[in-house]
């Protein structure tokens, strides 16, 4: 009973009120390094075809699938476009910048949730392409991510008058009242 737990800095990224649990779970598995990406599978199935199904060029790793792949980049661009967030290019960079911005304000909540939801949809898209042979469509993917975010943040009714926040609300077509400060 004398176990003392070491806190991990990335836990608040997924375990919060606005992130849908299924997205949290996939993000958690990703942080544990246990998502069944091709490079993980190759460890016990050496003969597996390990090229990323989304771009068909590089080996599929966690880094590649979610950040380096052209497909993922366009999706991130679509999702992050309005907020002036820098494009994530490395897993570590992004998580570090997310961990740094772990405050309770609206934008950082949005940031965390956007991250988890996008990760979940990218993973889902990859699985659908791989197992159901469905076709790729970036626009639909971005749309479904935005829709999920809209549902999650639809309870907000008042936002502070900050350009980033207001722009983000307009983009999601949220019906909010902008407070003058």
């Amino acid at each position: 009973m004398d176990r003392v737990y070491q806190r991990v800095p990335w836990a608040p990224i997924m375990w919060n009120n606005t992130t849908p649990p299924k997205c949290s779970f996939i993000t958690w598995m990703c942080f544990q390094g246990r998502l069944r990406t091709m490079d993980n599978l190759k460890k016990w199935m050496p003969e597996i075809y390990d090229i990323c199904v989304l771009c068909g060029k590089c080996q599929e790793t966690k880094e590649h699938l979610f950040f380096e792949c052209d497909f993922a980049r366009t999706v991130w661009k679509g999702v992050l476009w309005c907020n002036g967030w820098s494009m994530p290019c490395k897993w570590n960079d992004l998580t570090r910048s997310l961990v740094r911005s772990l405050r309770g304000d609206l934008l950082s909540r949005v940031k965390k949730t956007t991250f988890c939801v996008s990760l979940y949809f990218l993973w889902k898209c990859r699985n659908e392409v791989l197992f159901r042979k469905s076709s790729l469509n970036q626009e639909d993917l971005v749309k479904s991510i935005m829709f999920m975010l809209k549902i999650k943040f639809s309870s907000i009714c008042k936002v502070p008058n900050r350009p980033n926040v207001v722009r983000w609300c307009r983009m999601l077509k949220l019906d909010v009242k902008v407070l003058d400060s």
Binding site: M1, Y5, Q6, R7, V8, W10, A11, W15, P20, P21, K22, S24, F25, I26, W28, M29, F31, Q32, R34, R36
Partner: protein, 205 residues
């Protein structure tokens, strides 16, 4: 015995509540058959034998064995066999485990110090359910169980370690004995098994 019956009757007169003969039974320990027969004739209850179940929990004078804890595993698997719990996502299953299964376990665990074989059996069911969606189907676990059973802040999924939970819940009883909580059973334990000497509790041998 007549006194007990008189009290029961008195209670019936005051409250209108009567013991149901069909649903009640009487348990003997260290009484001769002769006296037992007299008492059963007087009260009209059936004689019961250990082990029996009381409030869903097994009552036995011996160490708990596999058939004794079978109701626990049955109850848990029955919850998981329902169609609505078979169609859940990982996160949904996790939530079901956290809110429903862990509370069934905690109910047992708060009263009995369960044998580790029992805990392992229950944990196997829960683990199978989380990773494969079926209590009896073993699938390769994606993350080690001890990682799953760590708090979310420490990188786990926030499930409780049932071995520890069981011990902690039982320690709660020990705590009430030590602080001398004002209940009947604690007074009984204090008078029968414990003595207080110079501010320290000792066990009467």
């Amino acid at each position: 015995m007549e006194r007990i019956q008189w009290h029961l009757h008195h209670f019936f007169k005051v409250s209108g509540l009567q013991p149901n003969v069909a649903k009640s039974s009487i348990y003997f320990a260290g009484t001769s058959e002769y006296i037992q027969r007299d008492i059963t004739l007087l009260l009209g209850f059936e004689v019961g034998y250990l082990p029996f179940r009381y409030l869903g929990l097994p009552m036995t004078s011996k160490r708990l064995s596999q058939p004794d804890w079978a109701p626990l595993t049955q109850k848990i698997t029955a919850k998981l066999r329902h169609w609505s719990s078979r169609l859940l996502s990982y996160a949904g299953r996790l939530e079901l485990i956290k809110s429903v299964l862990r509370s069934i376990e905690a109910f047992w665990g708060s009263i009995i110090l369960l044998p580790s074989a029992c805990i392992s059996e229950v944990e196997a069911i829960v683990r199978n359910f989380l990773w494969s969606g079926d209590a009896s189907k073993t699938k390769q676990a994606k993350v080690a169980w001890h990682t799953v059973c760590t708090p979310t802040e420490a990188g786990g999924l926030g499930l409780t370690n049932f071995h520890l939970l069981n011990k902690a819940l039982i320690l709660k009883h020990l705590w009430s004995i030590v602080v001398g909580k004002e209940t009947l059973w604690i007074r009984w334990i204090h008078s029968k098994y414990l003595y207080l000497k110079e501010g320290r509790l000792g066990l009467r041998v």
